[in-house]
């Protein structure tokens, strides 16, 4: 039985929740519990594909669950950007689940039921964010995502984990309640609606200077996008187990952030309106600064995961930056980079986790010669790293291409300079690691004799590395789909 598209939309949000419930119920029997996780993940992806299918046939789906406040409802819809985010999140959930099983068992972690259940709830939150039809719905699920990931970040339960989780929750809640919510209420006060509408809802209703303030509140209020100075939670959350880092960095959390910002720029402000706001430039500078500053900080990190965290901060601001360039091609670049970065970064984190499980190594300096012991892992790491730099034939090149094209479209040479400089910096911190892993000789005597990590982990990271390469060739469908976001008011 194939459900109708609007039912599929409801199912997409419910599937992970039901999965979470079943995971809790089957908690006593790990094999069954993991099977539930995998089945749920696959089912969710299938449902998202079903929704994608109807979108390609230009069926318009919109459902309203309930009217929360007069004129404000919990409702969902589909559009190209949301389907992209949903597809990425649900697909990577499958891969991450396979990987988690290897990681959690390999490390003999505690509280695994709580882990899988919270993971599923977080995915439900991500689906809600993806398909929300207005800012209120988006905010609701944004907070679901924040709260459900807190136990994951605090998973280990020791002092460091608690401290990191506190920072994580503190910054995300403070920014969302402190800036995002007032921005939403303000938007409602001036526009009288919060629906995502092609062409935006704010044009002609707010003066240029105030529009910049509002946009700033949105950009900083969406703390998940980690634009400086609200980026501190991301390195703090590095205390979490690696699958959680993957969830944060690639599957759902930061993607939800940049997705939200892109969506607000396109569907709340509208490109045509923002182009006329002169001070919008300030935000471009802020995002550009984040790209460079985070890369410089990453250059100085010795802990692999911390380095990757700062790399994420920089890569996220690529997306925000591209969205703020306001050229049609750069919006596509932003959307494509959500995919490209997801594939690349998840590979890198999977590799970092595999190194930790197999060799208990966490520092860059310990990686000398590890490429010979873990060839699959380190090859995948190299591919992921090259994608971050943006070298062909990787996914990172595709998005960078569109971003640069967009910058030319608007003659925005600041953005161009930032992109070039960031590429150089990325190369400066990824290439030495790859070199060290494959061409340096191992410390004598080796601290621990080891091979590859457990096979589910290797399988997962090989898959995502392959995707990084494949996306370079087969990016057509994604790009075509995303041209849909450029359609003006219907």
């Amino acid at each position: 039985m194939i459900p109708s598209a609007s039912t599929a939309l409801e199912i997409a949000i419910l599937v992970p929740l039901v999965g979470a419930l079943l995971i809790v119920l089957t908690g006593k029997r790990p094999n069954l519990r993991e099977a539930v996780t995998l089945v749920t993940a696959v089912a969710l992806f299938a449902v998202v594909l079903r929704i994608m299918y109807s979108l390609t046939r230009e069926e318009i789906i919109e459902i309203t669950l309930i009217e929360m406040l007069p004129g404000l409802s919990l409702s969902f819809h589909t559009e190209p950007l949301s389907i992209l985010f949903a597809a990425i999140a649900s697909f990577l959930w499958i891969v991450t689940s396979v990987y988690s099983i290897g990681y959690m068992r390999g490390n003999k972690e505690q509280h695994q039921t709580r882990f899988y259940a919270c993971f599923a709830i977080a995915l439900s939150g991500a689906m809600g964010v993806a398909f929300s039809a207005n800012l209120l719905t988006l905010f609701v699920f944004y907070e679901v995502l924040t709260l459900s990931t807190y136990p994951l970040v605090a998973h280990k339960g020791d002092e460091a984990a608690k401290k990191g989780a506190r920072t994580y929750l503190g910054i995300l809640l403070a920014t969302s309640i402190g800036l995002l919510l007032p921005a939403i209420i303000w938007t409602y006060a001036i526009a009288g609606t919060l629906d995502f509408t092609p062409g935006g809802i704010l044009e002609g209703r707010i003066a240029g200077g105030l529009a910049t303030v509002l946009l700033l509140m949105f950009v900083l209020g969406v703390g998940k996008a980690a634009v400086m100075p609200v980026h501190r939670w991301l390195p703090a959350a590095m205390v979490a187990p690696t699958p959680v880092s993957a969830l944060l960095h690639a599957v759902a959390v930061v993607k939800a952030g940049v997705f939200t910002i892109t969506k607000i720029i396109i569907y709340i402000f509208g490109l045509d309106f923002l182009v006329e706001v002169p001070t919008e430039r300030l935000l471009v500078y802020l995002a550009g600064f984040t790209v460079i500053a985070a890369s410089v900080v990453a250059l100085r990190q010795t802990n692999i995961k911390r380095m990757l965290a700062y790399s994420t901060i920089s890569q996220l601001s690529y997306i925000v930056l591209a969205a703020l360039v306001l050229a049609p091609l750069s919006e596509i670049g932003a959307a494509v980079h959500i995919v490209a970065h997801a594939f690349g970064k998840i590979t890198l984190f999977f590799a970092a986790g595999a190194i930790y499980v197999a060799a208990k190594k966490t520092e860059v300096t310990q990686l000398s010669g590890i490429g010979r012991r873990m060839p699959w892992t380190m090859t995948a790491f190299a591919i992921g790293g090259l994608s971050m730099v943006g070298v062909p034939p990787t996914a990172g090149f595709v998005s960078k291409w569109y971003m640069i094209a967009g910058a030319f479209q608007n003659d925005n040479y600041f953005v161009l300079a930032v992109l070039v400089a960031a590429t150089a910096l990325n190369a400066a911190y990824f290439l030495p690691i790859i070199f060290r892993a494959f061409f340096d000789t191992e410390d004598e005597p080796p601290q621990k004799d080891h091979g590859e990590a457990p096979w589910p982990m290797v399988a997962a990271l090989t898959t995502t590395a392959a995707l990084v390469l494949l996306f370079f060739v087969f990016n057509g469908p994604v790009v075509d789909l995303e041209y849909g976001i450029l359609k003006g008011p219907q």
């Binding site: 929360m68 406040l69 709260l147 506190r166 929750l169 007032p182 303000w186």
Partner: protein, 490 residues
């Protein structure tokens, strides 16, 4: 029906006092509270259909006789009192059996019913002196109830509340007396009609000052709140829940009634510096007591301080002197009762097991009492104002009202207040879920306590998602309070 809702608990109290000690007084009081709920629902429905209900005591026409008068504003309040009573009384049985000696139970439940009679009386009466009478009835009952706490400090807490409460009631009486001397009437509607002619006199100004200060003592507006933390901390758990949920709310209602109906907004906000008085006190109160709450070691006392802070929000809404602000205040009266009710009931479960609510007791409770702690977290989220809970709805309206007025600093204050709530709630959550307990046996509270607790938690979410009832009544009440003020007599 209208007088019955007051008469039933009052006569019920006499009956309860005559019953033999044991379970019988409790069952009787519960039955009476359920009758009150049934009556209150019926009355609220009638008010929504017919507008204003009026009942003349003994058939004497107002303004000579005493009038009971129900409009949307006090219908909401009556519903609230009855609802909380109907949920807390079933909880009170097992909870108070553990905290208060059995031989006192007839008096205990008699006092509880008298308290309810007083509260209900204040909310339905249309007579200013009658308000004082019922205020004293409920206050005297409260002093008794607080004094029943098992810690001996309950007696001093009760005594200091007695002093402060009596001062407040006396101030109120002086004010009413002055009005009577000037106008020769005690009926609120009649007062409202006659006061504008004499509004310029010093007597009316003095009366207003006495009434506002007296009521603010009862509702524990900062800095007149000093009686509240001790009273809430040392009273038996069920009593605290009932008091926190209803007593201060009724005082808030009296304030609204006198400002908007009796004196009228044009007098209260035009001639008297009400805004300049209420708004700064509300702000300082909500910020300072939130900070104080963070430092409390006893969680019951922490929530007591949080209550004072939340009262700040309500007074802020009243002080805004707009229909939206008043709607926000009325909504928060209702919503805060739900969240504090749920939180204090959860604490009651913990006190039932451990006899204390010190933060050390909470170690590892997330595993030992999963349902209780989940209820606490849910109530806490509502207090913070996370979407899908009632707290979010109140905050939404309050922030909207502030934006409408262009009071940007107030928006910031409301938000900082929410963030402080995050800190004090999360402190408990961390201890409960992340600190290991020495004794790890499960000791979940009995079902008789959990069901009422979860009922209130459920209502927190229900009215957070489906806001038709609460927002509907609150909006109608606010518009009515404003329109009657403009048109003289209601």
């Amino acid at each position: 029906m209208l007088p019955l809702i007051v008469v039933a608990p009052m006569l019920g109290a006499a009956v309860a006092a005559l019953l033999p000690p044991g379970r019988l007084p409790w069952l009787w009081a519960t039955a009476v509270s359920w009758f009150m709920l049934w009556a209150a629902v019926g009355l609220a429905a009638q008010v929504m259909d017919l507008g204003v209900l009026s009942y003349w005591m003994g058939g004497w026409a107002p303004p000579i006789g005493i009038e009971y008068r129900l409009d949307p504003a006090n219908a909401l309040l009556a519903l609230l009192i009855a609802l909380l009573a109907a949920v807390v009384l079933p909880f009170a049985g097992p909870s108070l059996a553990a905290e208060v000696p059995e031989r006192k139970s007839p008096w205990l439940y008699a006092a509880m019913l008298l308290f309810l009679a007083g509260q209900m009386g204040i909310s339905v009466t249309g007579d200013a002196f009658n308000v004082f009478v019922f205020l004293e009835i409920s206050s005297l009952a409260t002093y008794t109830l607080i004094g029943l706490g098992r810690n001996r400090r309950a007696l001093t807490a009760s005594f200091s509340y007695l002093i402060m409460g009596t001062v407040g009631a006396t101030f109120f009486l002086i004010g009413v007396g002055l009005l009577y001397a000037l106008t020769g009437t005690l009926n609120m509607a009649d007062l409202a009609a006659r006061l504008p002619d004499v509004a310029a006199t010093r007597t009316v100004h003095t009366a207003y000052a006495f009434i506002v200060v007296g009521v603010c003592l009862k509702l524990a507006l900062f800095p007149l709140h000093l009686w509240l933390p001790n009273a809430y901390t040392y009273a038996p758990s069920a009593v605290t829940a009932l008091m926190a949920a209803t007593a201060t709310k009724v005082a808030i209602y009296v304030l609204i009634r006198f400002i908007y109906t009796v004196f009228g907004p044009s007098f209260a906000f035009g001639e008297m510096p009400t805004v300049q008085l209420l708004v700064p006190l509300a702000i300082v109160g909500l910020l300072s007591t939130s900070v104080v709450a963070i430092g409390q070691a006893n969680i019951k006392r922490m929530l007591a301080y949080s209550s004072v802070a939340q009262i700040g929000y309500m007074v802020l809404g009243i002080g805004m002197a707009t229909a939206t602000g008043l709607t926000a205040a009325l909504l928060h009266v209702f919503n805060h009762a739900l969240m504090k009710g749920a939180l204090f009931l959860a604490l009651g479960c913990i006190a039932y097991r451990f006899g204390t609510t010190q933060i050390d007791t909470f170690r590892g409770l997330g595993r030992r009492m999963p349902w209780t702690m989940a209820a606490f977290v849910a109530g806490g989220l509502s207090l913070i104002g996370v979407p899908l809970t009632v707290g979010f709805i109140s905050k939404w309206y309050l922030v909207s009202a502030a934006i409408e007025l262009g009071w940007w600093p107030i928006v910031a204050v409301i938000i900082v207040g929410s963030l402080l709530a995050v800190i004090y709630i999360w402190r408990v959550v961390e201890v409960a879920y992340l600190q290991p307990a020495e004794d790890t046996t499960r000791c979940e509270a009995p079902l008789a306590l959990l069901v009422p607790t979860w009922l209130l938690v459920g209502l927190n979410f229900w009215f957070g998602i489906d806001t038709r009832v609460t927002v509907g009544i609150a909006e109608r009440a606010a518009t009515l309070l404003f329109s009657t003020a403009a048109g003289g007599a209601p």
